[in-house]
Symmetry: C2
Subunit: 140 residues, 2 copies
């Protein structure tokens, strides 16, 4: 009963390598992840196969070794994950959550400016209060 495939935590790690490299062989991914984690090569290969099944990765299979490429952009994937998580948080508490996140993340000067800009624009139309919706029926 799952409509849209989602990427598991471990699969995400694999994608990060491939997003960063643009494309990669399983050997490359395995080398990097064996340094980053305790995973065995077979584990990493399993994750790559699952990512293929979910259409997050595709493999150029005309010759060995295969070359794997992402089928989804990193920013899109991040957008999905982050928004999915925030969808389940009480809307009254999202502001605090974001504040918290900012406090705990390294952010570049440039990104800070961008965020300031977004916020200032948002302040124009932002409500005084955001009501808790935890007890309300979902809008379908």
């Amino acid at each position: 009963m799952k409509e849209v495939e989602s990427m598991s935590r471990a699969e995400w790690q694999v994608m990060r390598i491939i997003w960063t490299l643009g494309e990669a062989t399983s050997k490359q991914v395995i080398e990097i992840l064996e340094r980053k984690t305790e995973w065995k090569a077979a584990t990493i290969k399993t994750l790559m196969i699952r990512l293929q099944k979910k259409h997050f990765l595709k493999a150029e299979e005309t010759k060995r070794p295969y070359i794997y490429q992402p089928m989804i952009q990193e920013d899109d994937a991040i957008h999905e994950s982050v928004n999915e998580l925030f969808d389940s948080i009480c809307c009254m508490r999202k502001g605090t959550a974001i504040n918290d996140l900012i406090e705990n993340s390294d952010i570049s000067q440039k990104d800070i400016s961008k965020i300031l800009e977004t916020l200032n624009k948002k302040a124009q139309t932002a409500p005084e209060e955001v009501e808790c919706d935890c007890l309300e029926a979902d809008l379908d």
Copy 2:
């Protein structure tokens, strides 16, 4: 090999009710969630039992019906979830992710001010660039 219990998406919905009410009987939770979702009462009860096992909920069991109370604060739980997600995102992209989040969330004037303040403080010491760490070995 799981160190810390985590709350599943469905369990989160149950917690939201109880956080908002402060405490609740299963009947109350069931009534509200039957309006919000398609879940059957038994499903909701299962979730509550799992939350007890994970020590996110406790039940006052001296008399029926039990009264359930949260064992973790909502803000702490949000902090955990959000930070866990952000831990797996490329640090170079967190700024954009946060910006995106702000664009997609309703935030109160007060929270906006607070975030602006945090950002301005952060700008004081923020790096020019944040490097991608996707290929690097984890610091253990």
